[in-house]
């Protein structure tokens, strides 16, 4: 055996964090360019016709596939209304997951460049007064763990994505 305990590999990761963080900053900036395949936000209604949610598409912007468990935090702001993970669902290949449970889904993978749907549940107070017409500003925050360690703090990176969406 060589290098018992915390070895030179871990030390090397720390030494190079500055360069790695620069690369990750470029990567996360690029995420804004490709994250939203469309600017459309769909109205989701119940069989009664009642508006229950809003849905939009989101691409995996990472350089490889990721298990859904890597989505460790998610929140959204739509037209200024705030939505926490318990009002957000991920729809991946027709599988609907409450975002608050995403960290437990380690056997479901979000493929390289794959597009999933984000469904915002308008129930409760958050979306009650939201004007669901025309264009709305979307802000989406994601804290993504990496499935292998690159030496990033907490083995995670954050995406702050913004887009003006057309509600249909």
């Amino acid at each position: 055996m060589i290098n018992s305990g915390e070895d030179s590999v871990a030390a090397r990761k720390r030494e190079d964090n500055a360069g790695l963080e620069t690369l990750m900053a470029l990567l996360t900036a690029d995420a804004q360019r490709i994250a939203f395949p469309t600017n459309i936000m769909e109205r989701v209604t119940a069989p009664t016709g009642e508006l229950t949610g809003l849905k939009f598409r989101l691409r995996n912007t990472f350089y490889c596939a990721q298990p859904v468990s890597c989505i460790s935090e998610i929140s959204a702001s739509i037209g200024g209304a705030q939505f926490a993970a318990d009002h957000i669902h991920l729809i991946l290949r027709d599988q609907v997951i409450s975002a608050k449970y995403a960290p437990t889904f380690h056997e479901l993978w979000w493929g390289f460049g794959e597009v999933l749907d984000i469904l915002i549940d308008l129930g409760g107070s958050a979306g009650r007064n939201l004007p669901i017409i025309g264009r709305l500003n979307l802000e989406l925050f994601l804290r993504m763990r990496t499935s292998i360690s690159y030496g990033l703090p907490g083995d995670a990176y954050c995406l702050h994505l913004r887009n003006e969406m057309e509600v249909r």
Binding site: M1, I2, S8, L23, A29, D30, R33, I34, A65, G113
Partner: protein, 266 residues
């Protein structure tokens, strides 16, 4: 030394759906290479639940164009679960699964990316995989990639795997990117490549940007390929463009530029 193409180079267009993996394979063939490298999480359909039939169909498509798979690059992610790191035993099982896929692809090299908590974990996983590597007549290519140091991997190799015909090294040019341009600059001296060539089975010609003359201004391709030639390296060097992570350029054009650069110094 034989030039080849890593389909990783087409990542920008594959990720956004402008190209399919099949398109990338066909474009690589059109450039006249005899081999392509595949990356599990980018190129195998339905990963990680790719079926044997899907793997065989992919290999058949590549062979039908007169090419082979020169390397199967794969990841051994140990942070899949949010509650704990994967155990070494779990990683060994994952490694065996990748070796079987590499065998189905009829490649000679499998490059599993894994460090775990350090070289001890890596060595344990490779040692446990050697019987299956022997059965499948495969080489585990340990990638030397920035920010890690080539001589650290040489020491690991000499300590753990000296003389093992199923374990070799895969130097990645990220270690020798040296001008601090956006990339994965390793700032290594070119001589450190010379020391690892005798146990090198495959080379990743990493690039992030090209100037008007087709040079990679951050990476001394001329010097690095001279070392490979002087040391008698005979196997594949793949064009592995990674600039698509942060700039949107047409993958086909960049892949052709990159391959021209490698051929310029062969």
């Amino acid at each position: 030394m034989k030039p080849a193409m890593s389909l990783y180079s087409y990542g920008g267009d594959i990720r956004t759906g402008r190209m399919a993996v099949r398109d990338a394979i066909e474009h690589a063939a059109s450039l006249g290479v005899k081999a392509v490298e595949l990356v599990d999480e980018q190129h195998l359909p339905d990963w990680p639940y790719t079926s044997a039939a899907q793997i065989i169909e992919l290999k058949s498509r590549i062979k039908s164009l007169g090419m082979e798979v020169c390397c199967f690059s794969t990841y051994l992610p140990d942070l899949i679960r949010s509650d704990r790191r994967a155990t070494v035993a779990e990683i060994i099982e994952a490694a065996k699964k990748r070796i079987v896929i590499a065998d189905l692809l009829e490649t000679r090299i499998v490059r599993p990316a894994y460090i775990g908590t350090g070289f001890n974990d890596l060595a344990a996983v490779i040692h446990a995989s050697i019987p299956m590597l022997e059965t499948c007549n495969l080489i585990w290519g340990i990638e030397i990639h920035a920010p890690y140091k080539p001589l650290d991997f040489l020491a690991l190799y000499n300590h753990e795997f000296a003389g093992c015909r199923n374990v070799k090294l895969v130097p990645d040019f990220s270690c020798w990117q040296r001008k601090g341009l956006p990339g994965e600059c390793g700032f290594e001296s070119v001589d450190s490549l010379r020391k690892v060539v005798p146990i090198t089975a495959h080379v990743h010609g990493k690039a992030h940007t090209f100037d008007a003359t087709g040079e990679e201004p951050n990476t001394p391709y001329g010097d690095l390929l001279s070392v490979l030639k002087e040391e008698g390296y005979k196997d594949y060097i793949v064009a592995e463009y990674e600039g698509w992570m942060f700039q949107d350029l047409p993958s086909r054009e960049v892949a052709a530029t990159h391959l021209d650069l490698i051929r310029r110094y062969l």
